[in-house]
């Protein structure tokens, strides 16, 4: 005599991205704080000294925010036109910014009026930076020149006229006070040495260069331009190392995580991608509402600041680790003695042992199924928690009832509330391809059973209309998908070599996940 076999609940593999350490790390941020600026946020720079205020350049102003403030702690408004590239000096005391009116201004972080004004460029200055000796300023401008300025004298030291297009990015070496890189819309990156009067290294990016990033070791340079990000090995004389093609619009900003293990790139396609710097694979992806112009990471990855074209600055702070501690506070469990009570009793020689039959534990719906109470079994499976959290249990019970040929009996004889609960479940899960075959049968049965009373309950009628709407949309969707599939088929067919063999690589990618095989159309046919 076999025991009752409980209903099999299929285990579905989790679809979507796999949970890795990276996703856990990068998902561990709070909901973003949104700050509205006056115009597109073109640059964000974090002060290198604590408390790590950050300067946000947007339209004609530069705001300085504290690490957790939503209001600016300081504002620089003395710009005649759009300001560009507000950057802190390495001691956090001075801030330099370019402007559309070609004047470069130097501010004291404490003051309001510019300490120095550097005039000499003839067009807008998009690039400003301090050299590592802290006494010079590098600027790059739309007049194709980049210049070095002396801060104390406010005089121009050198001018380099090597680029043939706008200079839109530049970075100074943190280790050597004489070296700096510039990237230009003439597709080139150039390395300059202040001790000689021309560039010492030129690399061709292939597209207008938008952003540059130097690794802390300064052996690798990352450039972003067009849709691509390239990594250059400087020690090998500017040899391209990796070519990352993960964005589908212009990449605007680059950033390194605090550990230097992850590289972040932001793009006009509204994504921020996180790469592993050992194999340069994308390990995580952030989505934003608008095209991203600027990106910054606070020290220790405490927060991610993103500036967008619609003037919104989005700041995400890392979740505090003490949140998980609260969960562990639970009610006191019964003591150890309760569990071992009677367990360690050794029977004496003439004791008669009464063996207790092992009781089979069954779920609630299984108990009802065992008694052939089909309606009750469906009711238990439709309980709110099960229905919402584990819809696969509900679907499995419906399937089991269908297999027993009693699904009609179980569905029939329900009141308005019962029917609307069922319909609500169907509306939520009918288009799930895993549940659709089972639920479609059940939905048809419901229509058959209750067609005579349709129109008597406004609640049920509204739900039926919603269901119909859902189905229509799903049908359209499927039709579109089939069209795409047809297009793909033709494309693959034309891609095939003349030899009459199917291409194995494509059909391999059609592999199905474990324990789940959606019926897949053949990609190829040997013709």
């Amino acid at each position: 005599m076999a025991s009752f076999k409980p209903t099999k609940i299929p285990v579905y593999p989790k679809l979507g991205e796999k949970v890795t350490q990276d996703t856990l790390y990068w998902k561990n941020y709070k909901a973003p704080v949104q700050i509205k600026e006056f115009g597109a946020v073109t640059n964000i720079d974090i002060s290198p000294v604590a408390p790590h205020n950050y300067a946000v350049t947007a339209f004609t102003r530069i705001h300085i925010y504290g690490p957790f403030s939503q209001e600016p702690v300081k504002t620089f408004t003395r710009f005649k036109d759009t300001a560009y590239c507000g950057r802190f000096r390495s001691d956090g005391q001075l801030l330099v910014a370019g402007c559309e009116d070609s004047v470069v201004r130097l501010f004291d972080v404490g003051g309001k009026v510019a300490l120095r004004m550097f005039k000499g460029h003839t067009k807008a200055v998009h690039v400003t930076d301090f050299t590592s000796d802290r006494y010079q300023i590098l600027t790059g401008s739309d007049d194709y020149t980049c210049r070095l300025w002396d801060i104390p004298n406010a005089t121009e030291l050198t001018t380099y006229q090597e680029h043939t297009d706008y200079i839109r990015c530049g970075v100074t070496s943190k280790l050597n006070r004489d070296l700096f890189f510039t990237g230009s819309y003439d597709h080139t990156l150039k390395l300059f040495d202040a001790r000689v009067d021309k560039c010492v290294m030129t690399m061709d990016h292939g597209q207008p260069v938008e952003s540059l990033l130097l690794y802390p070791s300064e052996g690798l340079l990352v450039s972003a331009g067009g849709r691509h990000v390239k990594v250059w090995d400087l020690l090998k004389g500017g040899q391209p190392l990796v070519w990352l093609r993960n964005h589908h619009k212009t990449v605007t900003c680059l950033c390194l995580s605090s550990s230097g293990q992850r590289l972040l790139s932001a793009s006009l396609d509204r994504h921020v991608k996180v790469y592993n710097t050992t194999n340069y694979k994308v390990v995580h992806n952030f989505d934003y509402a608008a095209s991203i112009l600027s990106l910054a990471l606070a020290p220790d990855d405490e927060s991610i600041m993103v500036g967008m074209t619609n003037g919104i600055l989005s700041v995400k702070h890392r979740k505090s680790p003490e949140g998980s501690k609260e969960v562990q506070q639970q009610r006191r469990r019964p003591s150890y003695r309760v569990f071992v009570k009677g367990k360690n009793y050794t029977p004496k020689q003439d004791d008669y042992l009464v063996s207790k039959p092992v009781k089979q534990h069954l779920a609630k719906y299984d108990k009802q199924l065992k008694k052939f109470n089909v309606s009750k079994a469906l009711d238990t499976a439709l309980e709110t928690w099960t229905r919402h959290r584990k819809p696969e249990i509900t679907v499995a019970v419906i399937k089991e009832l269908d297999r027993r040929g009693t699904l009609k009996n179980a569905l029939a004889g329900r009141d308005e509330q019962g029917v609307s609960r069922l319909l609500h479940f169907f509306i939520g899960n009918l288009v799930n391809p895993r549940f659709a075959p089972v639920l479609v049968t059940a939905a048809e049965m419901i229509l058959d059973i209750y067609q005579s009373v349709i129109g008597q309950s406004p609640v049920v009628d509204r739900q039926l209309l919603r269901l119909q709407d859902l189905l229509e949309r799903e049908i359209d969707y499927q039709q579109d998908l089939l069209e795409v599939l047809g297009m793909l088929d033709t494309m693959f067919a034309t891609c095939l070599p003349r030899k009459e063999v199917p291409c194995s690589g494509i059909s391999r990618s059609n592999g199905l996940t474990q324990e789940e095989a959606s019926s897949s159309r053949p990609q190829l046919q040997a013709t």
Binding site: S3, F4, L369, V501, E516, A517, P522, Q525, A526
Partner: protein, 833 residues
């Protein structure tokens, strides 16, 4: 059947155990059941088959314990004979020839030496009408007897044996047929008939399905088509009869039995629930649910301690009266058809096929025993007629037996399919579910095979389906992640060819080629790169079977077509090597040699050809193996290879060919040498009858034997004495193999010659026992080996009686005294006469 040399077609086990109700012996130690052309005796506690009573030449249709001797059993058969057996020793005692087919047998203790048989009505030869006849068995010593004393008791009875039952003490007999219940009283020689209406208002059927009578009271219980049970009382009046109705079963009641004291009524049906009703308190019921399959018969042991239920899946369940299952005797389950082909498990060499609904059965051919059932579907089976159930339709093992792939399907508007992959677990020694692929194909799967390369690290499975695709499933190696739970299976490739439906697939022996047949085209693929290598075609006619040659013939690919063509392609030249016009219904390759077997259907009979693809002449051919078409066969590798040098039987050296005929008989081919070997081994195993041969028994059986023997001698004493001359005749006529050793017989024989009135044959052994006992009592005699002693004493006594005249010496006197003492008991018996 012997035609070709010494190779014979023989039945190999798996006969039906549940054709008729099983019978439990009075001491509840043995269970007897009709099984094909023999009666099998099982031990109720050990579940082992102890004896097989062979002798009938047709289906055995009934087994009945002899009411006057509980160690003997009658069996009746469709061959028109009733045989009396001693089932503890497995000896045929008598054969009664009735002369017409018998369909069931009944008897009661009230009617000594009368048995009741259901036979076709003699007057008209139409087979639809049957009668119950009483047969007086003639008393004579002959082994074979014609019976003439046949008298009809009831006309027009049902062929169903459950519809006739004897009433209290055999006073009356109840028989149901259609909507009519007939009760015949033997004393009054009068019968009463009761009729039910054809249909009551609800439309349920009232047809009788079974009848049983209360052992102590005048009460008849009847089961009906609609699941009702009626208890009839007061039926010795035409008008004033009463009945009460009880209803639990939702389908027809197939069997009803009262317990021997009449306190409980047992009923069973298709629900596979044994229901126990309290007599007179019918609202109280006990249930024993989930017995596995529909109950066809219920039997109760005479002491009421055991119940037996026969099930539709060829299973007998033995239930202790406290309603718990104590033993299960399971035969080979034969459904209406074998959906999975015959498959051999490479590990256990067991035959694997679908058995119980949703299960795969592993059947040991060597031991003719069901090893276990593997639950494939893993769902609660709902016993309801007309319900579409999941069925196992395909099964395949990989070459090492580590993986089992099964396909289950449920017929609906659209077929529901599941492909399951099972891994062999060394610890539990059984298969454990590894991966379930729901809806692997859009339509029914037509064939499935594993890549048979032995050395590959990962395994590959190919399935072909009616949806026009074949899919390759690849085992993923255990992933690098430590939290991953071992290997699983993924779809590796989906292939199609011109939108044709693939039908068969086959891997070459080294796993480097895959052949898939698409109707009349055979496509050959390379599994390594999934390149289509070549296509082979031989129209007209779609490919029916496909297999690669092995070993030295591995360059050949053989295929059979529906247009009666057997083709052999050479894969090196990609051309047809040879073809021949044969209607091959089944083609299969021996996994351990290059031999191929082809079953050809010709004029209603099936012929077998065994050949090598490289040789033009068949190795062996056998005309008319069986009638009908053979669609399932398998080569089973032998555990030890035989050395037969005859050319025609060499193909049986390393493997054995088993096949299923169209009426589901499992047959095989054996050589004469093998038969002899089997006979020799069975003679070696002469062992005590009542207990199954277990190692434990071999160890302790000797000690157990001694106390039982005096008991048997006492019981033998009671049997009536026969004439001495008869005994001698019997001694000479009895087959040598049932006689005791000659050293025993010698003394008895001489004694029987000596005295005019001799002991009966049956007594001789008992006599001998008593002699030896008395000898042991004699104090002044030394103990001597028991085997020598009786012979000597017998001879001595002969000498003494013949030479009585000379004066006896002291020694002789002593001897004489001892002899007198010895023969005392039978002298007294002589004097009594």
């Amino acid at each position: 059947m012997v035609e070709e040399g010494d190779i014979r077609v023989v039945h190999r086990g798996g006969s039906r155990l549940t054709f008729r109700e099983p019978v439990v012996s009075r001491d509840s130690r043995f269970l007897l059941c009709a099984s094909g052309e023999s009666v099998r005796v099982f031990g109720t506690s050990t579940e082992e088959c102890i004896h097989q009573l062979r002798g009938h030449t047709d289906l055995v249709t009934g087994v009945l314990l002899r009411p006057s001797n509980h160690l003997q059993v009658y069996s009746c058969s469709a061959d028109g004979t009733v045989r009396l057996w001693d089932f503890t020793d497995g000896i045929l005692i008598k054969t009664y020839v009735i002369g017409c087919p018998i369909y069931s047998i009944y008897g009661s203790s009230n009617h000594d030496d009368v048995i009741f048989l259901v036979t076709p009505r003699l007057s008209d030869k139409r087979s639809e009408l049957f009668q119950l006849v009483a047969v007086h068995l003639p008393q004579s010593g002959d082994q074979l007897m014609e019976t003439r004393d046949v008298s009809a008791v009831l006309d027009d009875v049902s062929i169903n044996p459950a519809t006739i039952a004897f009433g209290r003490g055999g006073e009356y007999i109840a028989s149901a047929q259609g909507l009519q219940l007939q009760v015949y009283f033997f004393k009054k020689q009068k019968s009463y008939r009761f009729f039910l209406k054809e249909d009551n208002k609800k439309g349920s059927k009232n047809t009788f399905t079974c009848v049983t009578c209360h052992p102590k009271e005048d009460c008849i219980a009847t089961g009906h088509e609609d699941g009702k049970i009626r208890l009839w009382r007061n039926f010795n009046h035409k008008k004033e009869y009463t009945y009460s109705t009880f209803h639990w079963h939702h389908s027809a009641v197939s069997s009803l039995r009262f317990t021997p004291e009449g306190t409980n009524l047992l009923s069973g049906g298709v629900e596979s629930v044994l229901v126990q009703w309290r007599y007179n308190q019918e609202s109280e019921r006990d249930f024993l649910p989930r017995l596995g399959a529909a109950i066809t018969h219920i039997a109760v042991s005479p002491d009421g301690s055991l119940f037996c239920t026969s099930h539709a899946d060829n299973k007998i369940t033995i239930i202790r009266s406290c309603v718990e299952v104590s033993a299960v005797i399971q035969g080979l389950v034969k459904g209406d058809r074998v959906r999975t082909d015959l498959v051999v498990d490479p590990r256990s060499k067991a035959l694997v096929l679908n058995g119980k609904p949703g299960h795969l059965q592993f059947y040991s051919l060597q031991r003719d025993k069901l090893l276990f059932n593997l639950d494939i579907v893993q769902q609660e089976h709902i016993h309801e007629s007309g319900l579409q159930q999941f069925e196992v339709v395909k099964a395949a093992f990989d070459s090492s037996g580590n993986w089992l792939a099964t396909v289950e399907e449920r017929q609906q508007e659209d077929t529901e399919l599941n492909l399951k992959l099972w891994a062999f677990d060394e610890q539990t020694q059984s298969f454990v579910l590894n991966t379930t692929i729901s809806a692997p194909h859009e339509a029914r799967i037509t064939a499935m095979c594993f890549c048979c390369a032995a050395d590959s690290r990962t395994t590959m499975l190919v399935s072909t389906s009616k949806d026009g695709h074949f899919k390759a499933w690849q085992q993923t190696t255990a992933a690098a992640d430590p939290d991953d739970e071992g290997p699983s299976w993924l779809c590796d490739f989906v292939g199609a060819y011109h939108g044709l439906v693939p039908d068969r697939c086959c891997f070459s022996a080294d796993g480097s080629l895959l052949a898939v047949s698409f109707q009349e085209v055979v496509t050959v693929w390379s599994p390594a790169s999934w390149e289509l290598l070549t296509t082979l075609s031989q129209p007209p006619g779609a490919i029916r079977d496909l297999c690669f040659g092995r070993l030295s013939c591995s360059k050949y690919l053989l295929g059979t077509t529906t247009k009666n063509l057997l083709c052999c392609w050479n894969l090196l030249t990609c051309s047809l090597e040879w073809s021949t016009a044969m209607d091959v219904s089944l083609l299969l390759a021996d996994p351990v040699s290059e031999n191929m077997a082809a079953f050809c259907c010709q004029a209603g009979f099936t012929d077998l050809f065994v050949f090598k693809p490289c040789e033009p002449r068949p190795l062996f051919s056998h005309k008319a193996v069986c009638s009908g078409k053979v669609t399932h066969a398998v080569f089973v590798p032998r555990e030890e290879t035989q050395e037969s040098c005859e050319e025609s039987s060499q193909w049986l050296n390393s493997s054995q060919l088993h096949f299923l005929t169209h009426n589901m008989d499992l047959m095989t081919f054996t050589t004469k040498a093998e038969d002899e070997r089997l006979m020799a081994s069975s003679q070696q195993l002469v062992i005590d009858d009542s207990v199954a041969m277990t190692p434990f028994h071999l160890l302790l059986g000797k000690h157990r034997q001694e106390p039982t023997e005096p008991v048997s001698s006492r019981s033998a004493e009671r049997t009536p004495l026969l004439q001495g001359s008869l005994a001698i005749k019997e001694l000479l006529q009895t087959p040598a193999h049932v006689l005791p050793a000659t050293s025993f017989l010698c003394s008895m024989f001489v004694e029987s010659l000596l005295v005019s009135v001799t002991e009966p044959r049956e007594d001789t052994q008992a006599e001998e026992e008593m002699e030896s006992e008395k000898e042991e009592e004699d104090s002044d005699e030394e103990m001597e080996p028991g085997t020598l002693r009786p012979a000597r004493s017998g001879l001595d006594s002969l000498a003494v009686v013949e030479h009585v005249a000379p004066p006896p010496t002291k020694v002789q006197l002593k001897e004489l005294r001892r002899v007198k003492k010895l023969d005392y008991s039978w002298f007294s018996s002589v004097l009594d006469r």
